[in-house]
Symmetry: C2
Subunit: 198 residues, 2 copies
DNA sequence: AATAGAAACGGACCGCAGTCCGTTTTGATC
DNA sequence: GATCAAAACGGACTGCGGTCCGTTTCTATT
């Protein structure tokens, strides 16, 4: 991702390494197409790409890292939109409207990339400290401050982040048949009350 | 002559099964004492209890199932308190106060049993449908309705449940050094605004 | 072109959760 | 007490994520 680079120390990649990364990403997309994200195993991925298993882990660190790499394009696009894009998601609209738009767009994003996002989330404990999550959190916190929420905006942003977690959204939609529209309406309601109470 | 032994009474456990369950629970508590919940493996547990590994899985189904069994006492006590105990957690207090108390007590509960709760949560997808989680959700939904929240109380309860998830609370406390008091204050703020907006 | 050392490679290897299935225990019935 | 089917047992086995380390490939330098 370009806005929050996965490798901030931009040291160039050796040619074989770059070639294998492309091979692996391509193979991973194929396998996910065929078996779903949950059906992808690191072993079959290595086999399909024609590289050793060690290479897969050297490139991506872990299964979750691979999934994040697959997501990074979509993630970067989303980040660009809420940071620099047109209102109401981007700057220019009143903070409450931006908060509402953020949730709506995030829900739509989860509908599209949720399976991958779930697979990327598995890492048990520090998934909240992954760069993208930190950025969303900061964004929410900033909007809350702008909206005049003075009571612990950091923790309030944490709570709002919890509401938008892919796993929960997907569960509501897939198991309880809640429509994305209904989710969005509830988000609007929640965030309005949080802000209006300020 | 009854060839089909009907057993309407729920007394389905054979004596050896009951003995092994106790052996396993005792051994599990010992191991967790020594190595922490994350350090407990099903293999060492079987060894410590002096039973086969298959027996462990027959009893508890999975690692998460074992952790839930270990939690069930504490869980039952908590449930008893918010359903039948004294106010403000139990019935008798105004709904907003009960909501506040529920969050406060839940945060304290996570401080005490959180590691186990996290280990019990790993099961990826339907952890929201575990009986205890369903019960908390219903309780929150009921209190929201009583407090006059008419806008989709079911989803609002879902959002509030998300805020109280053990994993997130533990992360805030352990990684970001947030005090439980500060968490409780933020919960109070959040739930007050949600209800007051009604 | 030769060299050297850093980087990447690959697949055997590890520990773990969870399954399978032949063997043993249990307890209701005779 | 003998019988027997159902239930429980146990440990070898599978498949997975992840690691290790001896081998190969790159590239900067001469």
């Amino acid at each position: 991702m370009s806005l929050i680079p996965l490798r901030p120390d931009a040291e160039p990649e050796r040619r074989d390494a770059a070639r294998n990364r492309e091979l692996l990403l391509r193979a991973a997309r194929e396998l996910i197409e065929e078996c779903g994200a949950d059906g992808l195993t690191m072993g079959t991925l290595a086999q399909r790409a024609g590289v050793g298993k060690g290479t897969v882990f050297r490139r991506f660190g872990s299964r979750a890292g691979l999934m994040m790499a697959l997501l990074s394009d979509a993630e970067a696009r989303f980040q660009g939109r809420f940071m620099f894009g047109p209102p109401p998601l981007g700057p220019g609209a009143p903070p409450l409207e931006r908060l509402i738009a953020f949730g709506e767009e995030r829900i739509a994003w989860v509908m599209e990339f949720g399976e991958l996002a779930r697979a990327a989330d598995v890492s048990a404990y520090n998934r909240f400290d992954v760069p993208a999550a930190v950025l969303w959190h900061r964004h929410l916190e900033m909007l809350l401050r702008e909206a005049g929420v003075t009571a612990d905006p950091w923790l309030m942003a944490t709570s709002l982040s919890a509401v938008l977690e892919p796993e929960r959204i997907l569960h509501a939609v897939r198991v309880h048949q809640i429509s994305p529209d209904r989710l969005a309406a509830s988000w609007r309601e929640l965030v309005s009350r949080v802000v209006r109470g300020a």
